[in-house]
């Protein structure tokens, strides 16, 4: 266990059996405000979990004394609330879905870009805070939710696509999925263009790309009866998705 920061704002545990990678991941995360603990085995993890609450667990799947998938399932069964990110060399849509199904919040395949790891860690921690806020308001999104219900659609949160009631699929582009995710995280809230597209907040007020994306998304949603008017326009303010959103 290597305490990383003097005044930590939360805690991240890295469980990885390869000492080099473990150290390197920890080094990557060292600039984050959270305290980072690194462990190399399931036994060490159990000890480590006894301490302060954990915001994020970065989990390798192949471990000398256990399997990451089992750990993930056990932790969730025991009511573990922190986010879990799987980092593994097992790639393939099925592995990914399985990992997410067992309660992981994200799934990253090795070898990965260090920047991507950072981006995902930040995103997960931000989302955790959103969940905590939601939990305060009545806890809308269960952590292992696979689908979010949107009118006649179910949004597959693991595979980023829309599913009809009879299991037909409509694919979403990354941008469309990001938009929908934002709406689902904040139902009933009017989201401005800047909030919907933070990475382009400098120019978003002038370009129409967000409107084009919304219009495409609406077009896709409207292809099922009852799927139109899921996203409403609020004049001169932005867009809103009327809630509540059911998860399953």
């Amino acid at each position: 266990m290597i305490p990383q920061s003097d005044a930590p704002e939360g805690r991240i545990i890295v469980l990885e059996d390869d000492p080099d990678i473990r150290e390197l991941i920890a080094a990557q995360l060292s600039r984050e405000p959270q305290r980072v603990d690194s462990v190399g085995s399931v036994a060490e993890l159990r000890t480590c979990l006894q301490g302060d609450p954990v915001d994020l667990l970065i989990l390798d799947l192949n471990l000398p004394d256990g399997d990451g998938l089992d750990i993930c399932r056990d932790l969730r069964a025991a009511g573990h609330q922190g986010a879990i990110m799987m980092v593994t060399a097992r790639e393939g849509p099925i592995d990914r879905v399985l990992g997410l199904e067992l309660g992981a919040d994200d799934y990253l395949t090795k070898p990965f870009e260090p920047r991507e790891l950072l981006a995902r860690v930040r995103n997960l921690l931000r989302r955790s805070r959103v969940f905590d806020g939601a939990a305060g308001q009545g806890g809308q999104r269960p952590r292992v939710a696979r689908f979010a219900r949107l009118g006649p659609w179910r949004l597959d949160l693991h595979q980023r696509r829309l599913v009809t009631h009879d299991d037909r699929l409509v694919m979403l582009s990354s941008a469309e999925y990001r938009l929908l995710s934002r709406f689902i995280e904040a139902p009933n809230q009017v989201l401005s263009r800047e909030e919907l597209l933070p990475e382009r907040s400098a120019t978003v007020a002038f370009d129409r790309s967000i409107d084009i994306q919304i219009s495409r998304l609406r077009h896709k949603l409207a292809s099922e009866p009852g799927g139109d008017e899921l996203i409403l326009t609020v004049r001169s303010e932005g867009y809103v998705l009327p809630g509540p959103i059911a998860f399953e």
Binding site: D18, D20, P114, M171, S173, R216
Partner: protein
Amino acid sequence: MTSAEPVKPGFLKRLRDYPRSLAGRLTLVLSLGMAASAILALQASDGLGHYTFRRDQVDAALDSAEDIAHRFERQPLRTANLLSRGVILGAHDANPAWRMTAPDPTFSRRLSERLGRPAQVMPLLNGECFAQLTRYPHAAGMNTDPLPDCWFIRVDAGDRKLDYVVDLWPDRSWNRHRVGPPYIELIIVAGALLGLLAASLATTPLRRMERAARAFSLVGEFEPIPVKGPSEVRAALETFNLAQERVREGLRERTQILASVTHDLQTPLTRLRLRLEQVEDEALRDRLVADLQVTQQMVRDGLDLARSSEIREPWSVLDIDSILSSTAEDAAEFGHRVVFSQGCDVEARVKPHALARALGNLVDNALKYGGSAELSCHREGADLVIRVADRGPGLPEDELALAFQPFRRLSSSKGNGTGIGLAIAQAQVGTFGAAIGLRNRDGGGLIAEIRIPATSIRGEGEVVRD
């Protein structure tokens, strides 16, 4: 185009090919064979019937002849009287003008043995036997044909000779043609029907096996065929299942080896990638990162190709336009010139990840060689064709087919990449029964087409359950 056009034989062609099919041959052999054997059997039974009739006819005639001879012995006058009056059924007077010119030696000998005295028998045809009837007119519907033949008999009674005639049984089969038109036609029709039945019995398991073999070779689905049917078919199916199992084992082993090799490579590559962050010289770091990315891509491609043949992805009905527009938008987000130009409003039963992966590879290729890509789809006959077109240099005609072979570098190939993008794409779409064809575009450029067979298509509004 390198992918074969789906064969849809017309009725005439099917008819022409029918004799070459197993069903056709069985039908032909059975209908002709049954007709021939039925005719032979009928002929034989006819012949036998005729023979026994002749034998019994002769026996009966000998009985009659013997009977009349005995009557003459006991009551000569009464018998002669009855005969001359013609009231004895089956026997009457002989015409005095007849001469015993050609006695039949066999019949004569048999009658002599029965009577114990010399006798002669001369068979006569009915025209002579009933010569008196031919002198007079007869009713329009009648002629002498149905009248019986007869024997002219002369018995040597010591002092005198007894002449009389006994009638033979009439041959009632004279107007029956057993092997004639209705029989032959009926037999041929029955044979053909039987042939069809036998053919369907024989070919149903074959069809099942063919379908399974096709699914196995095209889609790569390793579903064992249920072993049922006649014993030979069962044996063949078992062998097929065994072969399929072997192939699957081989593939699994190959994938296993590749997976473990690449998995073991991932760890040092990850380490290397993370360590590169610590390189101070930015230019050097960027170059090293680029090299590492190429290496990673190669490892990933190799693994993809090995895995593509045994994708366990479930089937889903997918809105094709949505995957094309998403692919285009995702690429555009990275600053690539990819447009989705024409939709087709079709849903198809596919494996979505495999299709997305294949599309991604085709778009990458188009961008690499043409700098831009245009996605569209349309119906060609009943098939669905997804088109990825670029305005690059295209390919020489003789390299179009070679492009799908893994690790083959084409003349126009650029330095990086493993050259298996197309092979992976082909394998991926193969998992759901589609195929990729390449051709040059009018006005320059290359067109890659994913052809999804009609059986996977669900038109808008129309429900196809399978």
